[in-house]
Symmetry: C2
Subunit: 331 residues, 2 copies
């Protein structure tokens, strides 16, 4: 691979001048510039990003990190696409780390990212108390959190109004005539899980129904937990006539169990899920779901991050996007 030195030699100038041309900084004579550009083309020169990064943290190295809890969850895939679209068009590459809800792995990845000297980080932290991440923020790394915040830290946050989304979903179920509405919740350590649970509870109470702890099951946010907890719910003495599921994966798990029991949706049991999917209409019947604008979350987060990289002193923003209830046929 040709280096800047090779280019300089070929063009008969110093590396400093080549660097100046490349970075469009300060003055360089037009004829010199032409010579250099020619040499660059002929040698098919590509700047070495590693060297660039090593030399100066202060200069944008065009690499950002993305830390997601679970790449299997279609929600994060959409967030990722959003991030990717904006970062790619700003000439950033992303390094994606999936910690799979494993707090140990998250720590390792954060270390890796740090020693890669990334320009910035978009993360959905394992918890709101994430010490490692806080440390990085304090060290001055531009960070924006998605889906979950970071307590007592100055970071941009993009999230969705989880409480409101859950409230709407359950409110809709009640108004559609269901009375024994169960909820399968995700990992209680995840803030969004807790907010959704509160939305569920408040919607019941708001409609004059009782909050019945027997109708609420908490799992680990996984597909399997959806299968198992739905099974438990269907087996209690007085089973629910509707289920509100706490995320994507849980919804799919619950559906599997419902189909296994050969229950008809929505006549025997209704279901509305948190998280919409692009193929919700491929389900039979099409799924009623709370749609988080995942792609947009990613896009906004990307924009905020780039802003912050360019202006580290800008004050922090908390962006709360709306969740929308997509009413289809499962409720």
């Amino acid at each position: 691979m040709a280096s800047m030195n090779d280019v300089a030699k070929k063009a008969g100038v110093s590396v400093a001048t080549v660097s100046r041309v490349l970075n469009k900084s300060s003055n360089v004579n037009d004829s010199t510039r032409a010579k250099i550009l020619k040499a660059i083309k002929e040698l098919n020169y590509q700047p070495n990003r590693v060297a660039k990064r090593l030399r100066s943290r202060s200069v944008s190295s065009n690499l950002i990190g993305v830390l997601v809890p679970d790449i299997q969850n279609p929600f994060y895939v959409d967030v990722l696409r959003g991030i990717e679209d904006v970062t790619a068009s700003n000439n950033y590459a992303i390094i994606m780390c999936n910690f799979g809800q494993d707090i140990e792995r998250e720590k390792i990845y954060l270390e890796v990212l740090q020693s890669e000297s990334i320009d910035g980080l978009i993360a959905a932290p394992a918890s709101e108390e994430d010490l490692e991440l806080k440390k990085m923020v304090n060290n001055g790394l531009p960070v924006v959190c998605v889906d979950r915040g970071l307590k007592n830290s100055d970071v941009d946050v993009v999230l969705v109004d989880n409480y409101d989304g859950a409230f709407k979903a359950v409110d809709h179920l009640v108004k559609s005539g269901y009375h024994r509405i169960a909820h399968i919740s995700g990992l209680p350590t995840i803030p969004s899980s807790r907010r959704r649970l509160r939305g569920y509870r408040d919607a019941l109470i708001h409609n004059g129904l009782q909050y019945d702890p027997n109708l609420v099951k908490s799992g680990d946010s996984s597909h399997i937990s959806g299968i198992e907890l739905c099974e438990e719910l269907l087996n209690i003495p007085e089973p629910p006539d509707a289920i509100f599921t706490g995320n994507n994966l849980i919804t799919l798990g619950a559906l599997e169990t419902i189909h296994k029991h050969e229950l008809s949706i929505p006549s025997e049991i209704a279901i509305v899920g948190f998280d919409d999917m692009y193929w919700s209409n491929s389900l039979n019947p099409p799924l009623t779901a709370v749609r988080q604008p995942a792609y947009e979350i990613g896009k906004r987060a990307g924009e905020l991050l780039i802003q912050r990289i360019n202006d580290p002193s800008r004050e922090c923003i908390q962006m709360i996007l709306n969740a929308e209830l997509k009413i289809r046929k499962s409720s």
Copy 2:
């Protein structure tokens, strides 16, 4: 951030010795080692991977690239998980690039990866003639291809027997009594699409049925193409009684259209899809599908890559995994 120099000073030794301790290379006295380890701990030192990478291509820099065509496709997500699991446990970080079937973006990402001086690359190339990628292979970068090969190039390849998988699916449909079996195919430039198409055709012929071009539609492998092409198929004069879909996304699209037409599966129309999903059972009825061992593909690819990084001269392997027909209720 503490550097190696700081550690060396604190421990009262030279940087060379610190480096030796870190890399477990050659001899260093136990007491010196202890001093150094103590200093490392106290300063919370973390090696700078960027500097490491810059210094020597010859030494593993513990970064590998992954190039996927479409992160929205659950198949690649599973492949990615497989890769991640093996690379993570070998202390590699991955930098993931999703080119979204966009050949221009693929090129950009390849340049980025190259200038990141990655140790190796796992890619599902846009085409078997991928010039950029071939160039990188020729430059000596360890590469393993998944899902698609690279013509006339020495690379390890992990793929699935697409022909056989398709054959089994269609054969099963015929034996189940369907006679007008349609096929919605993916992007014809993708080798696997072509192989699946051939498997489809040969299975028909093998069973004494005619290959009818009217029953075959080709799209761009996307969800949308599934929706639209299925619509077209349902509207031809003598519509099919079964559909074999060319991938994940197409399957979901086709299902959407079938549900829209309120056709009952499998009595009015059967469907079997290429690519299984962990939530195939969440569909109603549960989907019959050709299961590619996606996670295993990723895992194998990761293993092969690490092997190749450690031994660049090892000769190339083509690994063909079996596709398995999961018969459920949609056929």
